[in-house]
Symmetry: C2
């Protein structure tokens, strides 16, 4: 069960698959590309969700729920949008099964007059509703979020990173002015940055997507990009300024304070179960997961060490008050009483990435102490029983900070500035992010992608194109940009 995984250095992709499986996070469902999120993986998602939901609500948004089914005709309203999603839709065409000669078949008489799309994202449905809800400036801004499942019929799938169905939150807001929509887009990106850095201990780059990489139907898209330990990029959250594109498509206007009709401005933004892939690949090592303490399903796992029933009883009794004070301090704690060897349990919980292991045996009880072992560093500390809560809370903070610092060092030392296309190609091959000049054309971007496999990740907010030349054409750079291979 908790045997080793393929080393990262040997085959990162195999390492990832091994960890997802052996840490009991998820597995494939029977329909191609679908995913079963197992209890341990789901507890992780639930904690991420709770943290993000809190930030979304704090900033004035409310949750709602829109239907999973979108009429095909709605879907067709925004031309670029439908183009972006038409090739990967689940389409419902019938509504009854019947048994013929012992076979269960689709009843041809149950064919729908208009086919129905399982939402790949909800802009079209939301804006069809917003048309009813928005009449006056008093109805704006409208700040709604939903937690939902969406479906994109992908050909090549990987657990968490790309699945036919995934879970996410999608925010959809409506505003009276272009500036307000832009402010919202930026506000949300900052929430996503805080989620990544302050909750998940994953440093991210923030910036704007190119025309090619932006959301289908957006004016522009902002994103957070993280570096995985194989030096590839993972886009971990996106915030789109939709301008008036969807308002136009669904004819959503409002009466302003001067009694004039105006078109509404929109944003949308999302973070999905994909971010679990980032948690795995930004922090994990050859022993398995290393979970950021703020979202780890268990922050402390207790391994009682005993030889016989009498010792077990003594430990149980000794542990009870410790567990109570940990619970009262909101430390998520699990005691592993399974009938397995301590060594087996050590490996198993290392694989599952629990931040702190607490070992407790007869000798520890004699000395009124426990042993704490950090998952991130492997360091052992002997702690007096009275100090447990204080030490555990401190250690959880330290682990967060250390995971973040490690990942930040790693990212910083693997973002290379260059103006040589030869060096660019070499680095992309070996792994790393390139920060360089770009002439701002889609043509150049596509050629680089074709020749190197690297995609434009973002134009960073702190770009400085002055004196830079385009890495590919040598023309004066319009932007400084990050290129990398990406998930």
């Amino acid at each position: 069960m908790s045997k080793g995984v393929t080393p990262q250095s040997k085959n990162f992709s195999a390492w990832y698959n091994d960890v997802v499986k052996k840490a009991d996070l998820a597995e494939h469902g029977p329909v191609k590309g679908t995913m079963v999120i197992k209890p341990y993986g789901f507890a992780l998602w639930d904690n991420i969700k709770e943290a993000l939901d809190g930030m979304i609500k704090e900033s004035g948004h409310t949750n709602a729920y829109f239907p999973i089914f979108i009429p095909k005709s709605f879907f067709a309203q925004e031309a670029k949008h439908v183009k972006g999603f038409a090739k990967e839709c689940a389409i419902v065409t019938h509504t009854r099964l019947k048994t013929v000669d012992g076979d269960l078949i689709v009843d041809p008489e149950s064919k729908l007059e208009e086919e129905v799309i399982v939402r790949p994202t909800s802009e079209t449905l939301v804006w069809a509703m917003y048309k009813k809800w928005i009449q006056s400036y008093r109805d704006l801004p409208l700040l709604i979020n939903q937690w939902a499942n969406v479906v994109r019929w992908e050909m090549r799938t990987r657990l968490f990173l790309r699945t036919t169905e995934f879970l996410w939150q999608e925010g959809h807001t409506a505003h009276a002015t272009a500036q307000e929509a832009e402010d919202e887009t930026v506000l949300i990106l900052e929430i996503y940055r805080r989620l990544a850095e302050e909750i998940l201990a994953i440093p991210v780059l923030t910036g704007r997507k190119t025309e090619i990489e932006k959301f289908a139907g957006a004016e522009h898209t902002y994103a957070i990009e993280a570096m995985m330990r194989d030096k590839k990029a993972l886009q971990s959250g996106t915030s789109h300024n939709l301008g008036q594109n969807f308002a136009k498509a669904f004819n959503v206007t409002f009466q302003n304070k001067d009694n004039q009709e105006e078109m509404v401005y929109a944003t949308s933004w999302g973070v999905s179960t994909r971010i679990i892939g980032a948690v795995i690949m930004a922090h994990g090592d050859d022993k398995g997961l290393r979970l950021p303490p703020k979202v780890a399903p268990f922050q402390v796992v207790v391994i009682p060490i005993y030889r016989n029933a009498k010792q077990k009883k003594i430990i149980e009794k000794y542990l009870n008050p410790i567990l109570t004070i940990l619970k009262n301090s909101s430390v998520r704690t699990n005691v592993d009483w399974r009938e397995e060897s301590p060594g087996f349990k050590f490996n198993d919980w290392e694989m599952k990435g629990v931040p702190i292991r607490m070992e407790i045996g007869p000798r520890d009880i004699e000395n009124n102490q426990v042993v704490l072992v950090r998952r991130d560093t492997g360091n052992k500390t002997i702690v007096q029983t009275d100090d447990i809560v204080e030490k555990v809370l401190q250690m959880l903070n330290d682990i967060h900070d250390n995971l973040f610092a490690e990942a930040l060092d790693f990212m910083k030392s693997n973002i290379i500035k260059t103006d040589s296309y030869d060096e660019f190609k070499k680095i992309i091959k070996d792994g790393g992010f390139i920060r360089c000049g770009w002439d701002g054309t889609s043509e150049t971007e596509l050629k680089i992608k074709e020749e190197t496999g690297a995609t434009a990740r973002i134009i960073p907010f702190d770009e400085n194109a002055k004196n830079l030349k385009c890495i590919y054409t040598g023309k004066p750079a319009k932007h400084e940009i990050i290129f990398a291979k990406a998930y």
Copy 2:
């Protein structure tokens, strides 16, 4: 916006539709039978969900997520189950759209080899996975719950009560013995009873469903049944003992402690957004909703009463510390600063069922007091500012107790025991539950349904069939049973 609703006495069904709309809970989506749950309705659902999720976790269950798509062949595995759901499935047959002559059409080349069913419930998918997860008695019991959307393509739909897509939790457990599965089924029903009575203030009857009314694929089904204010029944939660039916269908066995292969026992159980219909119809009156305090999105709404900007400022300043202490006491409070008359606001928040209205005007400030008005009784109380938190918390408890007591009185006085079929017919016509003898045959049950429109709700756990005769056939009763018209 908050104009009156159709009186309950005039047309209960119209009253229901009016309240759902005017309280801003939900509306129909564009695809027939789908529902948009608006922010106020969703906040109510979120609170119900949080309460139930806590009880489910406390009793040892963990959450997970199973895919929305089920292969048609899986769905066919359990004969009764498929029969129960075959006529109301959403079936995905294609995965691409394309534009031909300007029209967006389903690409015939994207036809799936095997059609995929959008889950109407997840037993078949869950048990296909459990087959992989269960090998030994050490893997049991397996106690998993999921919060998800499901789809049943209903012909006649009503918001919350019957929608094509709805939200719910579905628990799926696996056990080593029949007794453990039965204990689980009973345990969950008790959780559902507590949700209804202790959280939602809705008294319920508990008991067993007849063969006709049980879940498709279950050995037997337990349910909680509530009485709405039109004296019709609403099934508000069900807990199914599935015996070995699904284990057999998916060949799920385990090795017991004596190294013998045995078939696994199963349960499943669910509560859905339908229960919001029960909250509306068990408590609502001609002014709108009356929400149970424990799940009300806002427990207190503050209506500031002022004539000019100066008075408004004074109230704002006075209110600030009050809002802080209410927040610190976890009282969900909303201040209505809209530019509308107090009368408009009173009506609007009565429609939305907020348990307590707090009025505060210049004279109240002079007297260092506020006015509290209970939504359930309309009673006004003047409260000194220092006592606000204490009084509000007490009042919220009182409102819960009063709503429960009112609904219990109403239910008790409308459950009629009779042994006369003529009286039975009269009561069913006028409204009410009948408690009577039944010979235990499906034939009798169906005839009663045909002749009166009443269905067998439950065989109550406290039944006493001794000396009873069947209400229809006059034969010795096998069971005491509850009949009623139902949603």
